[in-house]
Subunit: 381 residues, 2 copies
């Protein structure tokens, strides 16, 4: 830990955000939900989607891109689906409500899907998918986003980093939580390389001509000028490592989030008036829940989930170091719990890569090594 770093408790940080949002006219309930989602991102080590984003929310609430007290309207509804207009409010409260509806429908008829339009940035996709876990449902969450990703062989950024998140419950092992952008990396990762003055790996980004580049500064400057180029889809540049699959996944997210809901799609998000004033972003989200026992008994499902863990862990053990093991295993699978107690320093949480935020010790799920972290206090409901 950097000596100059100031450490703030999650509670204080949440309360700070809460006061900021309330000051800008957001209701206490909506402010609380939004603050919780932002702080959870930091607790899980996804700083790009944490409280660092607060500035953009403040700007959005001030300039009218985000409405402080939106009218959230259900436009269509069936036993298993709903379409909601988020009234250009903060993405988090409307998204939480939509995911709750999806879960309720899954409880009633086996599966529920709710799409949202006229929304804003909703924070980390995984937050909503994970809401399903305590109901013994599998949860899904997707959103489209600001166009930063260049289609395969393209020159201009036309699609968002369009994340997909899915969470599935287990019993003894951690739940499965996948929460991934469909691009190779996020803008935040380029910013880290720029600060460090390091070249980025080829396959992450293109320059304004649509050619691969290792120059993070150039890509970021092109973003601010809308000069062309951007991030590459999962699979990288061209067709060599089938980057068109990542492009296809990003398109898929746009179809389900925006085309299906009537939100803005592709690079039509975050529109501006003819004189350049920002208008509501009109992002779209898509939430789903499958009730496990609509398909098979919950206990059987959870035992098999742990079995899947087991073969996954075993395959890692034979071939890799513990650090790599914990890094990737927990990167994909262990994001689901935010509260651990480090056995070395007693800190209350680890970040998503399985490192203690207090002392930097590394968690491991390898049964041959001591497990460094145990589950902490249960999260508040």
């Amino acid at each position: 830990m950097d000596k100059a770093e100031i450490r703030v408790s999650a509670e204080d940080l949440t309360n700070f955000c809460l006061r900021v949002f309330q000051k800008l006219g957001v209701s206490e309930q909506d402010a609380r939900i939004t603050s919780e989602v932002l702080v959870m991102a930091d607790l899980r080590g996804i700083e790009s989607h944490g409280v660092a984003r607060l500035r953009r929310y403040v700007d959005g609430l001030r300039n009218g891109v985000m409405v402080a007290k939106p009218e959230i309207t259900t436009l269509r509804e069936t036993p298993a689906t709903a379409l909601i207009d988020a009234g250009a409010g903060l993405g988090q409260p409307a998204s939480r409500q939509a995911m709750q509806q999806a879960i309720q429908k899954a409880i009633e008829v086996g599966v529920g899907f709710v799409s949202l339009r006229n929304s804003n940035h909703y924070g980390i996709a995984g937050y909503y998918a994970m809401m399903a876990l305590e109901h013994d449902c599998i949860g899904m969450s997707m959103t489209n986003s600001d166009a930063l990703v260049v289609p395969t062989f393209g020159r201009d950024a036309m699609l968002g980093t369009n994340p997909i998140a899915v969470a599935a419950p287990a019993n003894k092992e951690l739940p499965f939580v996948l929460d991934m952008a469909t691009s190779t990396v996020s803008r935040g990762k380029l910013e880290v390389y720029e600060r460090q003055g390091k070249p980025v790996p080829m396959g992450w980004a293109t320059d304004e001509r649509g050619l691969g580049t290792d120059d993070a500064h150039r890509v970021l400057e092109n973003f601010s000028k809308r000069a062309g180029g951007g991030l590459l889809p999962l699979g990288g540049e061209g067709e060599l490592l089938t980057g068109y699959k990542g492009y296809g996944l990003a398109l898929l997210v746009d179809v389900l989030c925006a085309v299906l809901s009537g939100a803005a799609y592709a690079n039509l998000v975050y529109p501006k008036t003819p004189d350049g004033k920002p208008m509501p972003a009109n992002l779209g989200h898509f939430f789903g829940a499958w009730r496990v026992d609509a398909f098979r008994p919950v206990d059987d499902f959870k035992v098999a989930m742990c079995g899947l863990h087991l073969v996954g862990v075993l395959c890692f053990i034979v071939s890799t170091t513990t650090v790599q093991l914990s890094k990737h295993w927990s990167g994909i699978l262990a994001r689901a719990k935010t509260s651990y107690v480090c056995q070395q320093c007693g800190a209350q949480h680890v970040n998503w890569s399985g490192k203690c935020a207090g002392c930097g010790a590394c968690a491991s799920v390898c049964p041959e090594k001591a497990i460094s972290f145990k589950e902490g206090d249960k999260q508040k409901e």
Copy 2:
């Protein structure tokens, strides 16, 4: 076209398969469905999943891995979901029935999901997703498969190429059809490189030590000996281009197809008896359908789908050659229609990459160039 090549009409090929399956005790209806799915793969240029697979089906029906006249049983059902046991029969007839059920449920309650266990190889994932198109639904299809893919930093193949397919209807433009393995490439692609004696690009496969390799022959030999190594997940080797996302997607498919249905998961598929005899594969599939007008009017949706096409095409036009344009655009989006008439030679179909199977001419969706292909006869219902 190679002069030595023998060209067989799709109808003759279908009838040949039909007779083979019936000879092995499969009912006429099931034989017809299975033959249709196999031939459709060839028509769409996915030869790895076409009639070349017939040998494996024949072996499977002879050695008991596949049951010719299976008992297909619905084990659980809710208004929006079902779980089906495929009775170890051919994957295609049970999968077609399951997708029909998912569509029917979507028509009734807005969305339908059906999972299948105790199944076999089901052919191309896209076939089932595309069944939803004529009902103005969005279709989804996934399956787990033979363990050929090495998890990130792993040494042994633990997961299948686990494809994901989603199809969404449009009006003037082609439907959106994404049909992709979650690995970088398929085994078939390595076989092509082996035959040509060419090194494969780094990022496609690992050797038996879990290290990246360009030696296709070595990887394929390791497969046959189960010696370790295999294909890499989408995103390639290690974490440089975030190959763990492809690994996460493959796990996701296993959770939804196998853990949720009670099928065999990960490398537990295709089990053998203690004395080495093959047992039923126990693959799992997952099918879903969303009824478009449960969310918004179908016409509005289709107009927006064409708009998505438009921004996609435009972004390509400014930056790439027509060949690249048509290759990738049609690769991802144009697989949905199998019947075109080539304006140059009159052949009745083009393959998935947009090339005429008759004369090799290239299709293009670029509005600045003449569109080489027009829609042919409507497919039979």
